[in-house]
Structures are given as C-alpha cells and as structure tokens.
Symmetry: C2
Subunit: 187 residues, 2 copies
DNA sequence: CCTAAGCGGAATCTCGGCTTCCGCTTGGCG
DNA sequence: CGCCAAGCGGAAGCCGAGATTCCGCTTAGG
C-alpha cells in the first residue's frame, strides 16, 4: 500500500468518527469524505460499504475510551473521583457522541469482528469494576450501575442538534447533576 | 363547516401531536394522515402547510401541560411532591416528546400567534413559581431552575429512536435520578 | 523516467416524501 | 326523498438528498 494511501485511510477513519458523532451513524458519505479532504471515490475504494467504515470507527472509539478510563483510574486514588474524571473527559464535545451514534447501529455491522467485540466487552468490564469499587467505598448508590453511567453519557453528549440548545451548550452541568443523583445517599 | 369535517379536524390535530412526538416535527404528512384515518388530501385542505399544522398542535400541547401542572399542584400540599407528580405525568410515553419536537421548530411557525405565545409564557411562569416554592420550602437546590426541569423532560421523553434503548424503555428511572440530583443538599 | 496504484468528483440511479388533482361519496337542506 | 356542493381519498408526478459508479488525471516510488 502506497504511503499516501495509508495516510488517507487514517484521515478517513478520524473524519468518519467526527462526522458520525455530530450527525449520527447515517451521516452522508460525502460529508465524511469532505471532512477527510478526500473524494468520495477514495472513501468507497477503501470501505466498500457503510458497515466496513463503521467497524473501523468502532475500533478507534473503543480503544480511546478504554485508554481514557485507565488514565482516569490511575490519576486519583478513590473510585468516585476517577469516575468523575472519566465522565468529564468523555463529555468533551463530540467525544461520547460517537458512543451514542454507534449505539444506534445494527448488530450486523460488527458480525465477524471478534476483536472489536472483545475490546468493547473489556472496556465495559473495567468501567463496571470501577463502579463497584466506588460502591464498596461507600460513595455511590447501590441501585445504579455502569450501564446507567454509559447511557446517560450517551444521552447528554449526543450531537447538539438532538438536544435542547441549553443542554447542548453545557452538557457538563447536567452530567454533574446526574452524578449528584448517583452519589450515595441521594435516593 | 360540515359535521364530519369538524370531526376530522380534531382527529388530525391529535394524530399530528402523536406522530410528531414519536418521529419529530418533520414527520411525513402521510404518516399523520394515516394515523388520523384520513387521506393526505384532507390534511392539506385543512392545513395548507406544515406550519399551520404545527401551530394547531402547539396550542393543543400548551394547554394540556398547563392543566396537568395545575392538577399536580392542587393534589398535594408541598411543592416538591407536586413537581414529582407533574414530571411523572409529563414523562408518560409520547407526552413531553411533543415538547421536544416543538422545541426544534423555527420561530416563524408561530409568528402572529400571540395567543400561543401567551399560553406558553403563562405555563412556564407557573412552573417557575412552583420551583421557587419548593426552594423556599427547602426541598430543592437553589442552583437549579424550572428551565432545567423542562430541558430534562424534553431530553428524556423525546421519541425513542433518539435515545439509547434502555433509557427509552424507562425514562422515569433516569428522570428520578435527575430529580434526586436536584434535591436540596445533593450538590 | 515510467507505470501502475491511487485519486477526485461529475454523472447516474434510487428512494422517500411532498403536493396536486380529480372522480367518488355523503351530509343535510329544501 | 332527492339534490348538490362540501368533503373525501389516494394515485400520479415532482423533487431533492444521498448512494454508488466510473474513468481520465496525478503522482509515489522503483
């Protein structure tokens, strides 16, 4: 594979991640190509259909999330703070948006992508462990779980067009409210 | 106006409210017509364009919300419980969804509709009063407002396709979490 | 310098939804 | 009861957005 081709490949995946975060998994191929600074033809040559592209984007995303989680857990001793940090990181514009976008998509996009499934499962598992640790430390309610965290992140960080403008303008405010509600004793 | 025509008019507005709640303000006219048990022709004769239909739906909605709020406030003595009740009512499937749908829409849909604007303002004012009462009673945080409540309702009750499936399945759970976060002392 | 890998983007195709239009139906008056 | 205009439904044609193909031009790199 020629050097420039390889470079474009990377750009395309990044662009796809961005655009899908902003406009959903169904974002027009042309928009993705434009963002990547590439012609649609190139996009199609590399990824024969949308699913192929999605799988690539999914890999990209899962690894980024996993790395951020580990970083957050390493930076502070208590689990509750680590969760707070991770949430802040994930809430940065257009970040978890991708999670929401990917959540929308049909399973068949990943069939035969065992590595992706494994990475995803691993990430969720580590998040879950962190949550359980926070609960054991007495800082988090027992009746909420890692899933709730993920869902709410997805909700508040999905692309701005899909949220009431004030929420889109400051999702952090609402995520903090959510965390306040998840703190031990809040129920 | 003939009796059957009047009947259809009512059905159309109701159907439009339902369908727009589920599929957004841009929901296909044909879907609305079908739900109303009416031909598209009838729809277009009555409402020459989408804006006319939206205005009618908006009226419908604002009045329903105002009535529910007053009912909730009348049923229990303390403001916090009243808010809880109202939120529960508004979170019933496809209810506030309409609010979210209407929130999306451009101002020009309502220009020249003073009565609608007035009704809307009145409703918000009453909700705000209730929130301030809850704060005075010491049951609600000072740093949140009626707006936050409205936004959160919109977020969690928008049509299911736009939410992670588990959230769509039980928006009440997440709204309760958010309310827990808004309770006095939660910050 | 040459050549095949790689590229871009115009052209074409498809699909979903909007809007119109006209022949049929029916409320309700005389 | 009979008439006829108000009202109805939905097929037909229009349109724009996006997917996908294709081919002549560009350029990496041996």
């Amino acid at each position: 594979m020629r050097a420039d081709a390889r470079r474009n490949l990377g750009r395309i995946v990044e662009a796809a991640a961005e655009v899908m975060a902003e406009r959903g998994v169904e974002a027009p191929m042309e928009a993705i190509a434009r963002r990547a600074g590439v012609g649609v033809g190139t996009l199609y040559r590399r990824f024969p259909d949308r699913h192929a592209l999605l799988a690539a984007v999914g890999d990209h995303y899962v690894h980024a999330m996993a790395a951020a989680l580990d970083r957050a857990a390493g930076e502070v001793p208590d689990a509750w703070s680590a969760i707070g940090r991770f949430v802040s990181w994930a809430a940065e514009p257009g970040r978890a948006a991708l999670a929401a976008a990917l959540a929308e998509l049909p399973v068949e996009a990943y069939t035969g992508r065992a590595s992706f499934a494994r990475a995803r499962a691993g990430w969720l598992e580590r998040l879950d462990a962190l949550v359980r640790r926070a609960q054991a430390e007495g800082s988090m309610r027992q009746d909420v779980g890692a899933d709730d965290l993920v869902h709410l992140l997805n909700v508040f960080t999905c692309h701005p067009d899909r949220l009431p403008a004030p929420v889109a303008a400051d999702p952090g405010r609402y995520l903090r409210l959510m965390l306040d509600g998840m703190r031990a004793g809040a129920g």
